[in-house]
């Protein structure tokens, strides 16, 4: 009798804790999906082109850089001996850069934008940066699809090394999510972060071999590029898809960055999370 009573008591406690503490992963998945649906439905609400903007924007940036650097400045890519080598090089860079900057740009302000909501509705805050990253996946898919289709059209690949792509993409998502977690929380605590990020992203773009090939940079600086997580990724993808020569250690540097930024961002977010609901 006594034993039975204590058992039901602990059972009840377990139920209560489950509902109060972390939610079921399935529930998070449902919420994330609906939030993504809302994100895509409302992002282009009231515009004529609607979802077509998701195609227009990356293609327009591609066209601008191609005309400016590929035609006017006539940048050539040594080691990529096809007609439109520069276009492929640029595309490989933008397929990575555009979703990255899109996720960061939207994600930085995500916690601040929903500050009031977080205070009024119990829900996991991690979902907000996750939605920003999810929103960038469309651009990513478009970018990679263009890259692969054009590569085949130009006679580069498909090769066996393309098999690494899914892992690289997963790594990019993890890295982006970690950095978005970090920056959104940091921006929530210190609003300077938002302004710094806008400027920082511009600088970062030119520090990454996207519009210029690495071979245009003096050899002695090459190792420094591995300290740039995105450069490590871009170089790895260029090697993997376009068979361009890759500085030794780029894949390893990228793997390290994924662990560092993904894990670090998560850790920082969790340790600062109690500050979220609190504003006096």
């Amino acid at each position: 009798m006594v034993a039975k009573r204590t058992m039901t008591h602990t059972e009840k406690n377990a139920v209560a804790e489950a509902s109060a503490q972390s939610r079921h992963p399935r529930q998070l998945w449902v919420l994330w999906r609906y939030w993504m649906a809302r994100e895509f439905k409302t992002r282009y609400a009231g515009s004529v082109l609607g979802l077509a903007w998701a195609f227009v924007q990356p293609v327009a940036s591609l066209a601008i850089f191609y005309v400016l650097f590929g035609k006017v400045l006539a940048v050539r890519v040594p080691g990529l001996e096809v007609d439109n080598g520069y276009l492929l090089h640029l595309l490989a860079g933008l397929a990575i850069w555009l979703p990255f900057t899109d996720a960061i740009g939207r994600g930085v302000g995500s916690l601040v934008a929903y500050e009031d909501f977080l205070r009024k509705q119990p829900m996991p805050a991690e979902i907000l940066p996750a939605v920003s990253v999810g929103g960038s996946l469309l651009v990513m898919v478009i970018g990679y699809a263009l890259l692969l289709v054009l590569s085949v059209a130009q006679g580069v690949g498909p090769t066996a090394s393309w098999g690494w792509l899914p892992i690289l993409v997963l790594g990019q998502v993890a890295l982006t999510y970690g950095l978005t977690l970090f920056l959104s929380m940091a921006h929530f605590l210190w609003r300077d972060v938002g302004s710094a990020v806008t400027f920082g992203l511009q600088l970062w773009f030119y520090l990454t071999p996207i519009v210029y090939p690495l071979s245009q940079v003096p050899e002695r600086f090459h190792a420094w590029f591995l300290f740039n997580p995105l450069a490590a990724l871009v170089l790895t993808v260029q090697g993997c898809v376009l068979n361009m020569p890759v500085p030794a250690g780029a894949p390893w540097a990228f793997a390290l960055w994924v662990l560092l930024l993904g894990g670090g961002g998560w850790w920082f977010f969790r340790s600062m999370k109690p500050a979220l609901g609190e504003a006096l």
Binding site: K12, N13, V15, A16, E17, S19, A20, R23, H24, R26, Q27, L28, V30, L31, R33, Y34, W35, R38, K41, T42, A45, G46, D116, F117, L118, R119, K120, Q121, P122, M123, L189, W190, R191, P274, A275, G277, E278, L280
Partner: protein
Amino acid sequence: MSIRFEGIEKTYMVYNRPQDRLWEWMTQRQHHRVHVALADIGFEVQSGETFGLIGENGAGKSTLLKIAAGTIRPTRGQVVRQGRVAALLELGAGFHPEESGYDNIRFMAALHGLEGEGMQDFMVRATAFSELSVETLERPVKTYSSGMFMRLAFAAATAIDPEVLIVDEALSVGDLHFQKKSLNRILELRERGATVLFCSHNLYQVRSLCQRAAWIQDGRIASIGKTEDVVTAYESYERRRYVHLRAESADSASPDPARSTSAATSATALVKIMKLTVETADGINPAQIDSFQDMAVDIEVESYADAPFHVLFAIVRPDKDNVFGTSTQFRPEGQPLQGIGSHRVRMRFPRLSLLSGEYLWSVYVLDDTGIQVLDMAELIQPFTVLNQRHREFGVTWLEHDWVTVE
């Protein structure tokens, strides 16, 4: 189906400057002040109980509700919740203006982690309760009137069929019909055994809804127990505080005539409506009144200051249309009431010429100019009038003669 607070304490770290948090994080040395919002809170809202939280602004009621809902975590202690919880902390938080009503309901369902059949049920309940047409629900929420928005928000907030309901003064929104409907929804959930934790400044509402209550004062429980005891204790505290304030202002004002007037205006806010009773030959507060019966209304107010005031009251219909209203100011001389203590206003309607229908009272206490409202009790004491002897219809009987019928 219950909420149990176990030794809840909530402290906030207050940083004077944003960079202080940065220094603290980097140097691991304390750069903040500690503000204690709640301390030593421990009680249980039992299954099926309606529990009220009262207290002054900033006493910690809302913080406690947020902890109960789970939007913030207590610094110490824990909350044990059992059952499906719905929190009505602010209606419509999380609604997207560009999305349709349907999509917003779906989103709220997803917030609860519902999908498939569970989401379908949620949609059905929410749309039925909102009373909005299909055409409306397909429009973006930004095109809604505020009343429609509130209806949808309340419907979506309570559609999970909650077993535990946490309500933060969300009742006083929307039009009267909807207020009544949302209150009925809460009562209906309560009938079915839902537990309700509820915070309000409206002591009348707390008295009529809650079985037990807690008075939170400076982040601690000042009193907890039967609603009547707790509310009475709180009221007498408020009264003492007003008297204290008045004494203080009178003392400081006496040498300075300019300041004594300002003391008088601050002292004007000290009248309270205590009671309204209706009497007929059938007794006090009868369930129904016949047209043309002799009726008297008795209003009791208590003044804690020596400032003059007027009492205005009206018979109103449920849709807030005034049927008849009058004020002590409208009397032939129109002298205001004055003096510390109880005041009574009694009016007799020798032939109450209301016809069949539902009616309510609204009472206001106004300052001597008749403009500033000192206290009010709107739409209280509903009563039913039955017109059994005549076939005429409408709101009221008008004197009339049949001059010609050819």
